[in-house]
């Protein structure tokens, strides 16, 4: 292509994302758009085509990003090239969302016609506004009996301040309004600007690892162009590579010789580690580099940490291999070896958030078939010692002795909660219990409020979201961002089983609630740890002081009474199942502890 052709093509490109609160219909709308543009034949449609991992389909969330090229013949007779960039739908992945939005000129904002604006809707809209995107509101699910499109239209105008007079009334499920949305994309979203002859600037918004081709980076060309064989450079690290393949997903990969301004596609260059293609980084030409990288890059830092240990100690190396393989695909995952007296050799792993943690855990168990013990999640504490030194503690059992501590600081988040005003009382009570500091409350309309609190992150990573859902019957939505560290009166609580301290069960707690927590947790552990052959005392201690105690009774009867009419295979299966269940537990001293017990600290219902 010569410059003229490139510029002409550029005018017909539209890059956009769909943003929405979870369950407001983002994936269904994406599916309909693929259908409508004949990108995917109807018979090939699997629901939620863009969510490709099993786990994503099951959980109905997007973890890895995807970008698809579509062609759309508009009413003006021209054929347009659309790049639809999917965004992850969870607060853990906010940074990735912001980078994928940075690859777009516009965003389709989907709002549920019955539920209206939710916390994630707002969070995502603000990200889109930060990235100067043209936002096209769509009121979805208008065919629902409870739909109130006019109220929602008002809400969009009042709460977000967007002009919603031309918001499309749609039902992605029923296929209503899809064409109108596509026409608005053509009319309202600007074509990409940029000079095809300028030095290359390509934004990396995601990367995946492929065992045969190395890292595949998903990129948006912001300036210039790139060809197969070009020497490229990563601007954050200075590392250089040679491009081996370029292409677009449509949605199957289609190879291209060149990607130019406005294009959204993929690039491979024999890159071995996803760490070399960090999300938000800029790829430029090694021969003719751009002066500046694109704005907005930052290295992602994990916020939540936990210990992961193989139940079968022989699987330590397998676990390391699994973590390494997952890290190839996930630059935000961190891990380093650690040793626990109770659990043996394992890894302290860092995650973007709780969901991220659960996903990694599940993938290790499912895809790598390694049974895990995971310790309760922790945050990073900043500890000022009396000798003037300061340390960071990401594992509660490593908290120094109290007499050596001058001060402990813990991370706080700003939490925004949206809910019908009936639940204000319940939400405020919950936030107070979680040591929250009230900041603000605003009415979105007569019935809905948004409440802002500053809350310690450690309280959020425990069971905040579950409790919020149950105390608001699921009507509240929630979003948070890290705001920094504040000093707190914290102490380390140890748990002793059979008189022995189990380091993996230690946790950090606020001094004022230490006694209550101690009492609840020993009771909880008594419930969660099955009876053993011998009686097992459970104690909670701060330093050397025991503050609570309970007892797991000895097992008294465990024998199959029946003979199952000669069905010995069934007997065998039952015994094998019991044995298997035992294997899922970790032997600590003479006590067998199931995985749930390590999470007991998360399951405390605040009284």
């Amino acid at each position: 292509m010569n410059r003229e052709e490139k510029l002409k093509r550029q005018e017909r490109i539209r890059n956009f994302s769909i943003i929405a609160h979870i369950d407001h219909g983002k994936s269904t709308l994406a599916d309909r758009i693929l259908e409508k543009t004949n990108t995917v034949a109807e018979r090939e449609m699997k629901d939620q085509l863009l969510d490709s991992m099993d786990l994503e389909r099951e959980r109905g969330i997007t973890i890895k990003l995807n970008a698809v090229e579509l062609t759309y013949k508009a009413k003006d007779g021209e054929e347009y090239i659309f790049h639809l960039i999917d965004t992850p739908g969870h607060v853990d992945f906010t940074y990735e969302v912001s980078r994928s939005l940075a690859a777009c000129e516009g965003a389709v904002l989907v709002v549920d016609a019955a539920q209206g604006i939710e916390a994630q809707t707002l969070a995502n809209v603000y990200l889109a506004i930060d990235n100067d995107l043209e936002i096209l509101p769509v009121i979805n699910k208008i065919d629902l009996p409870s739909a109130e499109p006019e109220r929602v239209r008002q809400e969009i105008e009042n709460v977000i301040g967007l002009d919603a007079s031309e918001a499309v009334l749609a039902s992605a499920k029923a296929g209503i309004g899809i064409e109108e949305i596509l026409e608005q994309v053509v009319e309202k979203i600007p074509a990409p600007i940029g000079d095809p002859d300028a030095p290359l600037q390509a934004l990396i918004f995601d990367s995946v690892y492929d065992p045969y081709r190395g890292v595949i980076a998903l990129i948006r060309i912001v300036e210039g162009s790139v060809k197969v064989g070009d020497k490229i450079k990563m601007m954050s690290t200075g590392k250089e590579f040679e491009v081996t393949e370029l292409g677009v997903n449509s949605p199957k990969p289609v190879k291209r010789d060149e990607l130019t301004v406005g294009d959204v596609g993929y690039l491979t260059a024999s890159i071995k580690h996803v760490g070399d293609t960090r999300v938000g980084d800029t790829i430029t030409s090694a021969v003719n580099p751009a002066k500046e990288p694109l704005p907005g890059y930052r290295k992602m830092n994990p916020m939540v940490f936990c210990g992961m240990y193989p139940i079968d100690t022989a699987k330590y190396n397998d676990l390391r291999d699994a973590l390494e393989k997952l890290q190839l695909n996930d630059a935000a995952l961190q891990f380093e070896p650690e040793t626990s007296q109770a659990l043996g050799f394992g890894f302290r792993c860092g995650f973007l958030g709780l969901l991220h943690m659960e996903i990694i855990q599940e993938r290790i168990e499912r895809e790598f078939k390694i049974d895990l013990i995971t310790t309760a999640p922790s945050v990073i504490y900043h500890v000022q010692l009396t000798d003037g030194a300061s340390i960071q503690v990401d594992n509660p059992s490593n908290m120094p002795d109290p007499q050596k501590i001058e001060r402990i600081e813990e991370p706080y988040v700003k939490a925004s909660i949206m809910a019908p005003n009936d639940y204000v009382g319940a939400i405020m009570e919950l936030c107070q219990n979680k040591r929250g500091i009230f900041i603000d409350m605003q009415y979105l309309d007569e019935t809905r409020v948004t409440i802002t609190y500053e809350i310690p992150l450690s309280e959020i990573v425990y069971d905040f979201f579950d409790q919020l859902k149950s105390s608001t019957k699921g009507y509240a939505s929630f979003d948070y961002e890290l705001i920094g560290y504040k000093p707190s009166k914290l102490v380390k609580m140890d748990i002793l089983l059979n008189g022995e301290r189990v380091d993996a069960l230690s946790f950090i707690v606020h001094r004022d609630s230490a006694y209550d927590r101690g009492r609840v947790i020993v009771e909880k552990l008594k419930e969660l740890i099955p009876r053993q052959q011998f009686e097992v005392p459970v104690q909670a201690a701060i330093g050397t002081k025991i503050i609570a105690r309970s007892t797991i009774k000895a097992m008294r009867k465990n024998v199959l009474a029946k003979c199952y009419g000669g069905d010995i295979s069934r007997k065998r299966k039952l015994l094998e199942k019991q044995k298997e269940g035992k294997k899922r537990m970790k032997q600590v001293g003479s006590v067998e502890i199931p995985q749930e017990a390590f999470m007991a600290v998360l399951k405390i219902d605040d009284k």
């Binding site: 009876r531 052959q533 009774k553 097992m555 008294r556 009867k557 465990n558 024998v559 199959l560 009474a561 029946k562 003979c563 009419g565 000669g566 069905d567 010995i568 295979s569 007997k571 065998r572 015994l575 094998e576 019991q578 044995k579 035992k582």
Partner: protein, 402 residues
């Protein structure tokens, strides 16, 4: 030249081999009658409501299945026949007689065999008892379960306590001298006093045998559904243990020897049929959903009655699944079945069967279990301790190697 003479001339090896083969000849016949007039709340055996079922076809099919199976492997070594269910006594007199004739076709009941039928109290009319007696049945296993009308109702039985006494009285009158009852404990809302009462009623009956089973809530039962909805007030583990302990003690002091986890008998009245399972011997199994152990293979039959009938009709054996056991698995079963018996596992017999020293093969497991006070060695026998009997599953699973 007759068979034995010809064998006499063969090598020692061959005769050893033949002796071994005898071990593998089925010792027992189990026959399953999958019909019931009432479905109990705890039962997960293969069974259906009697009404409208092709009972006559089923009995014919049973005959065909036995014919075919025995043609390949004659029942020469059979020492016990057991008719179970379902509810065998739900059959009418004509059907019962047909079943009896069928069995008599293949099995010589005049020989010293144990011939048991399961019965519901209330089902056993004098006429039915006469038929049974006439065709050689010499042992009755009566599904008493409880001596408390409220509990009987709660577990879905349709007999009353008075039926129990009547049935046993009339069975004795008809000359039955080997009668067993089933009792259940750890039932919903059952108290320790209730179990004690049941035991006393059993002792008064002065019969020969009792099987006392703790309730196990199995999937696909009414109780299972109730439990999942939190509506099954079961006794606690501690209460259940106390009940079991009490049963064991009372039985022993009344002259009923506990010869297996759940079975108690007067001297000379252990159930041969039950022991076939625990001794890990071979057995035939006939009927829908029946299990058998033949030639080292554990088999189960097709469960649904129509499918069972269809298979027979097409001239096939109604086998659903057949598992060939490896020697490792056979040894595991020798242990986890054998240890259920008070006598335990004989080291000598183990060696005879597998040519492996059991103490060597399971050295680590046995040492650990002895150390934990769950297992003991008594001359030739490896046995559960009293504590081991309460925690049998912990012991049994140790013998399943990875």
């Amino acid at each position: 030249m007759t068979e034995p003479e010809r064998l006499g001339g063969t090598s020692i090896l061959t005769s050893l081999y033949l002796r071994k083969m005898v071990i593998f000849l089925p010792k027992a016949v189990y026959i399953h009658i999958p019909f019931c007039t009432q479905i109990c709340h705890y039962c997960d055996f293969n069974k259906v409501f009697l009404k409208g079922q092709p009972v006559d076809d089923y009995l014919k099919a049973l005959k065909t299945e036995m014919e075919k199976t025995f043609a390949n492997l004659p029942p020469e070594n059979v020492e016990t026949v057991f008719i179970g269910g379902g509810t065998p006594t739900a059959l009418n007199e004509k059907q019962l007689e047909y079943l009896m004739q069928t069995i008599n076709c293949f099995i010589d009941v005049e020989k010293e065999i144990e011939f048991t039928i399961e019965a519901n109290p209330g089902d056993l009319t004098v006429e039915k008892l006469k038929i049974l007696k006439n065709y050689g049945v010499n042992r009755l296993s009566i599904g008493v379960q409880s001596f408390n009308n409220n509990l009987l109702k709660a577990i879905g039985r349709n007999h009353k306590v008075e039926d129990i006494y009547k049935t046993i009285e009339s069975a004795k009158q008809q000359g039955f001298t080997n009668i067993s009852i089933d009792l259940m404990y750890a039932l919903p809302n059952q108290t320790i006093q209730d179990v004690e009462f049941a035991l006393n009623e059993f002792f008064k009956l002065d019969i020969e045998h009792c099987s006392a089973y703790s309730l196990i809530v199995e999937p696909k039962t009414i109780f299972y559904n109730l439990m999942n909805r939190g509506k099954l007030p079961l006794p606690s583990e501690d209460e259940e243990a106390t009940m079991y302990q009490m049963i064991m003690e009372q039985m022993e002091s009344h002259g009923y020897h506990q010869y297996e986890i759940s079975n108690y008998a007067k001297k000379g009245f252990k159930s041969k049929h039950n022991l076939v399972y625990w001794d890990n011997d071979h057995y035939y199994g006939f009927g829908a959903g029946a299990h058998s152990y033949i030639n080292g293979k554990r088999r189960s039959n097709i469960g649904p009655i129509n499918h069972y009938l269809k298979a027979i009709e097409k001239g096939r054996l109604p086998i659903r699944e057949e598992i060939s056991l490896t020697v490792k698995e056979q040894m595991e079963e020798e242990m986890f079945l054998g240890l259920r018996k008070t006598a335990g596992v004989s080291q000598k017999k183990f060696y005879q069967k597998f040519s492996i020293d059991v103490l060597e093969y399971y050295r680590e497991e046995i040492e650990k279990l002895i150390q934990d006070g769950l297992l003991q060695i008594n001359e030739d026998e490896i046995q559960l301790t009293n504590r081991g009997r309460m925690l049998g599953n912990i012991v049994f699973q140790q013998f399943i190697k990875d």
